[in-house]
Amino acid sequence: METLTNRAKPVDRRPMNFWEKIYLPAVIKGLGITFRHLFKKKATYNFPEQKRPFSPVFRGLHILNRDEEGRERCTACGLCAVACPAEAITMEAAERKPGEEHLYREEKYAARYEINMLRCIFCGFCEEACPKDAIYLTETFAPANYQRKGFIYGKEDLLIPFPPIENQSATEKL
């Protein structure tokens, strides 16, 4: 049979010989290996002080985008909620009133938009489903919280601020 990779090793089922039976050579070899590991570079990041760099395609917390004039892009079409396999997204639509044109880009907008971060599996399907480029996944993750309700992110948590603070992108701010 052809192997998938050339890394497969046949299992050695021969009975142990004398040197293997007295265990000590193997134990000493093992001690040598662990002793070398004492001085190796540690793989851990000291988290709050030190942050692990994420790749640009990392799927973290969501943001709701605005257009160039600072109007909300989301029209509450509900495609993200439909696409969401974890059913983490709920929203309520509302109609834009006259005089609110500077707030919402189109006639319909999301009056309430909630993502339950405990349900979310960060698959990014909402991002793909959105026809208005309104929802994006960022490079940060949800911080710890003491209560479940702290993980239900509303519009005030998700919407990026306007105007953006000192050219800082929303990803870095979060």
């Binding site: 007295i22 265990y23 134990v27 001690l31 662990t34 590991h37 190796k40 540690k42 793989a43 851990t44």
Partner: protein
């Protein structure tokens, strides 16, 4: 002279007992820290580093946590025995330190103060006796829990300690044939001018070391608590400080068995070149104590190092190693030692 018990003697011994108890508790406390830190380093992690600088206060935090945990006594457990178990284990762990000579004598205010609580002429037998009592702590605790995993752990602990004590005793007899004394003080004094007994008894030391691991219930012989099979073994049902006592006593056992091994095979408080040093006798004693503790720390490091290297033995392998390899080897060692001792006379 023999029956003269002065008030000074009582005070002096009380101070010594308190000091030794305090030191062994302190070292056991920081062994847990060393254990966690070394385990982390061996696994390329950082280990506890939040409580204090480098996590130095971690043992205190652990102890505090254990004190504040809920104390649970299972409903169908035998309440008296359930409490007696950890208490007995802790007491026997602390008792062994009484005969270990921590240093030679100090001269303070015209008195010779021996840094050994009791120079019993059967010192090593006392150590063995008390260590054997320790298994009762495990057995009573495990039995009183009324839990099948505890019971299995208990049975394992008992049979393991009995089997390994045999090989340990046999390896020790070979050493005692050379020393001709059971007093730990004498054994140390004999090593102060000559060579350490590790040179005469390398195989005996190896057997003793392996058995010490088994007696302390340390990996690779921690079959008694074997987390992957028996939940937590004999202390499955224990919580709060009673669990703390079991865990803590294990570290005290480790410390004491290191001390005994150093005393028997590595010259105790003697160190190379101590007779060519020109310092006052008191200074020499203090240096000796420091040397003794350095040797103990090396052993403690070794205990931890082995734990994070060697995986646990299977139960049948453990018994096979004990009965079919260590005991015959110990008897062979005994015969060779005896033959070599008789040879020069003929």
């Amino acid at each position: 002279m023999f029956l003269e018990i002065s008030a000074f003697l009582v005070i002096e011994k009380l101070i010594l007992v308190a000091a030794i108890l305090g030191i062994s508790l302190f070292i056991a406390m920081y062994s847990t820290y060393a254990e966690r830190k070394l385990a982390a380093f061996i696994q390329d992690r950082r280990g506890p580093n939040r409580a204090g600088i480098f996590g130095i206060l971690q043992p205190l935090a652990d102890g505090g946590k254990l004190f504040f945990k809920e104390e649970i006594i299972p409903e169908y457990a035998n309440k008296f025995l359930f409490i007696l178990g950890p208490a007995l284990f802790m007491i026997t762990a602390c008792m062994t330190s009484a005969v270990v000579p921590w240093g030679s004598t100090l001269h303070i205010a015209g008195r010779d103060i021996s840094l050994q609580v009791a120079d019993v002429n059967i010192g090593i037998l006392y150590v063995f006796g008390v260590v054997s009592l320790g298994v009762y702590g495990i057995m009573i605790g495990g039995w009183a829990s009324n839990n099948k995993y505890s019971l299995l752990g208990t049975i394992r602990a008992a049979s393991q300690i009995i089997s390994y004590e045999l090989a340990m005793g046999l390896s020790l007899i070979a050493l005692l044939m050379i020393t001709g004394s059971l007093s730990l003080k004498d054994i140390v004094e004999q090593q102060s001018h000559g060579v350490w007994y590790i040179v005469y008894q390398p195989i005996g030391f190896l057997i003793f070391l392996v058995c010490a691991f088994a007696e302390c219930n340390r990996t690779p012989f921690d079959l008694a608590e074997c987390d992957s099979e028996l939940v937590m073994g004999f202390h499955t049902e224990y919580s709060s400080m009673k669990l703390g006592f079991y865990l803590f006593a294990e570290y005290i056992n480790m410390f004491i068995s290191s001390a005994v091994m150093v005393t028997l095979y590595f010259g105790g408080y003697n160190f190379p070149g101590m007779h060519s040093l020109h310092v006052s006798p008191n200074m020499l004693t203090i240096l000796g104590v420091i040397a003794f503790f350095i040797k103990i720390f090396i052993f403690l490091f070794f205990f931890i190092w082995v734990r994070w290297t060697v995986p646990r033995f299977r139960y049948d392998q453990l018994m096979k190693l004990g009965w079919k390899m260590l005991i015959p080897l110990a008897i062979l060692n005994l015969l060779i030692t005896g033959a070599l001792m008789l040879y020069p006379h003929h």
